[in-house]
Structure formats: structure tokens, C-alpha cells
């Protein structure tokens, strides 16, 4: 009996859902450019969803592997496969586009948009919580495979400030790791002052 009910319900459900989708909601994302919609919170959400969703099936891809426009259709494809919601897909796209080559170019030209937060340790903590924590974890030990432990004595924090600011600004792949950190952690809105602030926080929190 339940088979007959399900067989009848299935086509009805298909038609009703299609109609609902066309009439009640806009599509996945607005047509406006993703960069105009992004904010620090969206990057943080995107990084978290990226880490949680993609790792369920495969290794984490480097945001710099594709151009920003290529990520658009790649993320749409992955939304179909993974069951991400439209909102999650937009967040992930913002994060990946932020770490793609186009944004690296933007960052290295020194023309990134206005600062997000002022440069003190508390600001650094806030930036870490927004942009870095998804991959590096609250304890700095890394929440996904391949991410370097910030607490390690011979880890990233053994480098000079100058080198670390450059690595964070331009992106960096630790020797031996299969995954690369995108430029500015995928958040192109970070300024040099923001990066210095987050570095100050890293030294205080994980450097000792």
C-alpha cells in the first residue's frame, strides 16, 4: 500500500516543489557580484562550511586552484552533490573567491578595501575568530587535516613577523603539507593592520 501512495505522491511532489521554487523564492544567489555582498562574517561562515562539508568526501582543494569565476560553477556543482543549502553555497563561494588568484592580485596591489577592525590584540582575536578559526581551530592545532599546529615550537610562529605578515598576506603552503592557506585566509578585506593585529594575537595566544 505504501508503495502505491509513494508512487502517486512522488510526481505530485515534483510538480508542487517546482512550482513553489519558481514562485516563492529567488534562485541560489542574487545576480549581484559576490564581492559586493561579502563581509567578514560571511567569510567566516564560508570557511567553516568549506571545512565541514568538503572534507566529508575529499581532501580540501586550494582556493588558488581555480579562478573566481570557475569557483562559481564548481561550487554550484558541489552544492548539488553535497546537499549544501543556497546560503551555505554563497558563503563558501565568497570564501573561495576571496582566496583565489584574482583576489591575491587585489591584495598584493595594496588596494584592498577599508580596514575591518583596528589593530590591537583584541581586534586580532576577533579577526582570528572570524577568518582563521575554521581551519586553525580555537586551540590553534588545526581543525582539518593538513593544517599546521600553531602551538608547535618549530611551527609557523617561529618565523619573523615580517615573514609571517607576508605569508598571511600572500597565502602560504607549509613544506610537507598538502593544503595551502589562501591569501589573507580567504578574506580579502583584511588590511595589513588587521594582519599585524591577528599576528599579535597569535603570538600571545599560541606563541609561548
Amino acid at each position: 500500500m505504501y508503495k502505491q501512495v509513494f508512487k502517486l505522491a512522488a510526481p505530485v511532489l515534483l510538480v508542487v516543489s517546482f512550482a513553489m521554487g519558481l514562485t516563492l523564492h529567488p534562485a541560489v544567489a542574487a545576480d549581484t557580484p559576490a564581492v559586493d555582498e561579502t563581509d567578514a562574517a560571511q567569510f567566516a561562515r564560508g570557511a567553516r562550511t568549506w571545512a565541514d562539508t568538503c572534507a566529508r568526501c575529499h581532501n580540501m582543494r586550494d582556493p588558488k586552484e581555480l579562478r573566481a569565476d570557475q569557483w562559481r560553477s564548481a561550487v554550484a556543482h558541489m552544492r548539488v552533490r553535497s546537499g549544501m543549502t543556497g546560503g551555505e553555497a554563497r558563503d563558501v563561494l565568497a570564501f573561495l573567491q576571496g582566496g583565489s588568484d584574482a583576489q591575491v592580485g587585489l591584495a598584493t596591489q595594496g588596494l584592498a578595501v577599508a580596514p575591518v577592525i583596528s589593530d590591537d590584540t583584541n581586534a586580532g582575536k576577533a579577526i582570528y575568530a572570524q577568518t582563521c578559526i575554521a581551519c586553525h581551530g580555537a586551540d590553534g592545532k588545526g581543525s582539518i587535516p593538513g593544517v599546521t599546529d600553531l602551538n608547535a615550537g618549530d611551527g609557523p610562529l617561529s618565523k619573523t613577523d615580517e615573514e609571517l605578515v607576508r605569508n598571511i598576506s600572500e597565502g602560504f603552503q607549509s613544506p610537507g603539507s598538502f593544503i595551502a592557506m589562501p591569501a589573507k585566509g580567504g578574506n580579502p578585506t583584511l588590511t595589513e593592520e588587521d594582519i599585524k593585529a591577528v599576528l599579535e594575537y597569535l603570538r600571545v595566544e599560541f606563541g609561548e
Binding site: A10, H25, P33, R81, G83, Q109, I179
Partner: protein, 425 residues
């Protein structure tokens, strides 16, 4: 003299802005570039005029007026705005509504069985993505596989048009990978699969359906702050039953454009993620099927019989540890009037653990599979142990050894060494 320095600094700033903006202009579309070039030309002329005035000031010892300084500041502001706009453009599509992307994966394999000759082989699967705005995605995958006789076999893995109806519903039409279970739809690509081979029963004519032709609804819904439900439901043409010597040799659920038995199959999968790194899912499908091929010849009019699929899968990640397990079965009922009257059940399950180490560059894998079919020569129990080296996140070298237990003397009983180089692009 102080004023003269300010002029000089300002001119240098304008020049610097124009220079730094140039590379970004090259990445914009033609009309935008033309517009920017026009503005650049205008600014260059104004800059030349300002330089001329500056020279005059230097020569005559004149000082700039407040109006002149304000005018220069306005020009500098305009140049900065143009530069900012230009550098932001490469990130987005402003003049086109469509985007394309070619991806896929490839692998080269070396297989050395206990009995028989070792051999190299290769294959690649290009994937095409064409997207209109953020509303429609056409995606397709072809499978090019080199055969033993040197021929190349080409197969359409899937081709679908996906309509993103809203944030939670995607309507899919075409040939799609079967949403039943997890391995076939998400884990089988060589750059994702942690071992060089698929678990027994997850290949063609096995226990897991491969693909389906029809329509599908799928998507995800967040439940609370950290939990989620994903779903997929479909209606499709269903499988065909392949007879051989009066028995059903296998259930071919590879996705067919025709429906020889005339009855549709309905099914789906629903998964629950109590937290992001744990996924628990059940799958089911049912319908009717009939023998449409016997000993390689087409058969028509064979009676319909019940067809059922049931599956269960779980995935869990914790730090560098990855665990997954899946059970899936296909069965068809007996049919006394059929040329292959006896039905049967094809079922398989596997459990796999993997652990990344040495800075996540290496990955050890252990998998157990138990595949049971109505044909003893095809049933198999397998232990597979493997080691992978991650050249990058999507390129890896994998080595594995399979300990296979099947009917003595059959291929299913042969142990094997496997080596694979895989790349997802």
C-alpha cells in the same frame, strides 16, 4: 618650496595609482577596458597639464592656490576610485550571465593479480559545467576507459540540467548518478577514493545502482544551529535484468534511455548530520523490472517482477581520522513464468578506516568488504590495505594489496597488488 614638494608628491601618487591599476584593467571585459582607457587617457592629459604647471611653478617660484590643490585632490580621488573598481572586477562576472568550467579526473593504474598477467591501464573522466546566472547548471561527465584490446570505451556517466529552485530545493533532469548510497555518487572518482579499487559490489552489475535516467529533487535543510538534513528523491526508468542460461546474471542499473519493462522506479536517500563531521543516511527504491536481455539477445514480454533497493551509510571524521561504512542491496522477486524464473539478492557492505600522518602527506587505509550474490563465483570477501601519498590535495599516488576470498579458481579468489596515480583537475 614646501608647496612645491606637495605638488610633486601628489603627482607621484597619481602616477603610482595609474601604474598599479594597469594590470587589473587587463582582466576586465572589453567594454570596461575601453571605458577605463578613455578615463586613463583623460587623466593622462590632465596629468601632463599639471606637470606643465608644476614646471612653471618651479620656474617662476609661484605657489598653488587653494582651488588648484582642491582640483588636484579631486583628480586623485577619481583615479583612486577607478583603480579600486578595476581591481574588484576580476572577481566577478559583470557583463556575462554564463560561466563555464572544465574539470574531471584521470588515473593510470598498474594491476598485478596472483594468477594472470599484470598490466597497466589508464582512463580519464572529463566533466563539464555550464552555468546560467545562479539558477541553472548543466553538468556532464564522460568516462574514457582503455580496454585490453586497445579500444577506447566511452560512456556517458551523467548529464543533467539542474534548476536551483530555492535555497533548499534543486530540480534535476537527465541521466544522474544514482542517489542511493554514498560511494557511487560521491566517492568513486579516483582522486577521492582512498584505494585504487572500488569495494566489491559497487561496480557494474553489482549490488549498488550506478545511475538513473529521470527526474530528481534534492537539497539540504539546516536543523537548528549545527544539524542538517539532506535529501534526494527521484523517479526514473529503472534497471534491466540480464539473463544468462536461465538465470538472472545481474541487475544492470546503469541508467537507460529506454524503459523496456514500461514501469518506473521511485527512490531516494535521506541523511541526517547531527554535527557536520557525522553523516548517517538511509536509501531505498522500489519498482518493477523484467528480463530484457538473455545470453546477449533482446527479450520482450517477460513478466514484471518486484525490484527493491535498500541502503545504509555512515561517515565520520575526527581530526586526521576518516571512517565510513556502507551497506546496499538490490533484489528482484521470483517469477515463475519468466525465462529466468529465479530471482535473487545482490548485497554488499564495507567498512573503511583511513588515517593521515606525516603532516597529512601520507594516508594509510584499511577496508573490509563482503559481497554476496546469487552466483557463488562472483561473491567475494575482501581485505584491502593501502598507502597513499598526497602530492597535492587532488593528486596522489596509491598502492594497495587486496586479499580476496571467493570461489576457488575464480578471479574473485585472486589476491592483487594495485598501484594508481590519480589526479582530480
Amino acid at each position: 618650496m614646501k608647496s612645491s614638494n606637495r605638488w610633486k608628491n601628489t603627482v607621484i601618487s597619481v602616477s603610482a595609482l595609474l601604474i598599479t591599476a594597469t594590470p587589473a584593467f587587463a582582466q576586465t571585459d572589453a567594454s570596461r577596458i575601453a571605458e577605463l582607457e578613455e578615463k586613463m587617457s583623460l587623466l593622462s592629459e590632465q596629468l601632463a597639464a599639471l606637470q606643465s604647471e608644476l614646471s612653471q611653478v618651479k620656474t617662476e617660484g609661484q605657489t598653488a592656490t587653494a582651488e588648484e590643490i582642491q582640483s588636484l585632490r579631486t583628480e586623485v580621488g577619481a583615479a583612486r576610485q577607478i583603480a579600486l573598481q578595476a581591481t574588484q572586477r576580476p572577481n566577478v562576472m559583470t557583463s556575462t550571465t554564463s560561466t563555464t568550467h572544465l574539470s574531471g579526473y584521470a588515473s593510470a593504474d598498474f594491476i598485478s593479480p596472483e594468477n594472470g598477467n599484470s598490466a597497466f591501464t589508464a582512463n580519464f573522466n572529463p566533466m563539464f559545467h555550464f552555468q546560467w546566472k545562479d539558477k541553472i547548471l548543466w553538468e556532464a561527465e564522460l568516462a574514457f576507459e582503455l580496454q585490453e584490446d586497445g579500444e577506447t570505451e566511452v560512456e556517458l556517466e551523467y548529464t543533467t540540467i539542474d534548476f536551483f529552485l530555492n535555497d533548499n530545493i534543486i530540480f534535476i533532469a537527465g541521466k544522474f548518478l544514482s542517489p542511493l548510497g554514498n560511494f557511487r555518487q560521491n566517492l568513486h572518482p579516483s582522486w577521492i577514493n582512498k584505494l585504487p579499487s572500488a569495494p566489491p559490489g559497487f561496480g557494474h552489475d553489482g549490488a549498488a545502482p550506478i545511475a538513473e535516467v529521470g527526474m530528481q529533487l534534492r537539497g539540504g535543510v539546516n536543523v537548528g544551529t549545527n544539524s542538517k538534513i539532506t535529501y534526494a528523491g527521484y523517479v526514473g526508468n529503472g534497471p534491466i535484468l540480464e539473463g544468462e542460461g536461465g538465470e538472472i546474471h545481474g541487475i544492470n542499473a546503469g541508467g537507460f534511455a529506454g524503459d523496456a519493462d514500461g514501469r518506473k522506479v521511485v527512490g531516494g536517500r535521506i541523511s541526517y548530520l547531527p554535527f557536520p563531521r557525522l553523516e548517517i543516511a538511509v536509501s531505498s527504491a522500489f519498482g518493477d523490472a523484467a528480463v530484457t536481455e538473455d545470453d546477449g539477445f533482446a527479450v520482450s514480454g517477460d513478466p514484471l517482477r518486484n525490484y527493491n533497493v535498500f541502503g545504509f551509510d555512515v561517515t565520520y571524521q575526527w581530526k586526521d581520522f576518516d571512517f565510513r561504512s556502507e551497506y546496499i542491496s538490490q533484489d528482484v522477486a521470483d517469477s515463475a513464468l519468466s525465462i529466468s524464473p529465479e530471482g535473487g539478492k545482490w548485497e554488499t557492505w564495507y567498512a573503511q578506516g583511513a588515517y593521515k600522518f606525516a603532516n597529512a602527506k601520507w594516508e594509510g587505509v584499511l577496508r573490509f568488504t563482503d559481497y554476496t550474490t546469487p552466483h557463488p563465483d562472483l561473491s567475494q570477501e575482501q581485505w584491502a590495505i593501502g598507502l597513499g601519498y598526497l602530492v597535492s590535495s587532488s593528486a596522489m599516488i596509491k598502492a594497495a594489496y587486496e586479499i580476496n576470498t571467493g570461489l576457488t579458481g575464480e578471479i574473485s579468489d585472486d589476491d592483487r597488488w594495485l598501484l594508481q596515480v590519480a589526479y582530480g583537475y
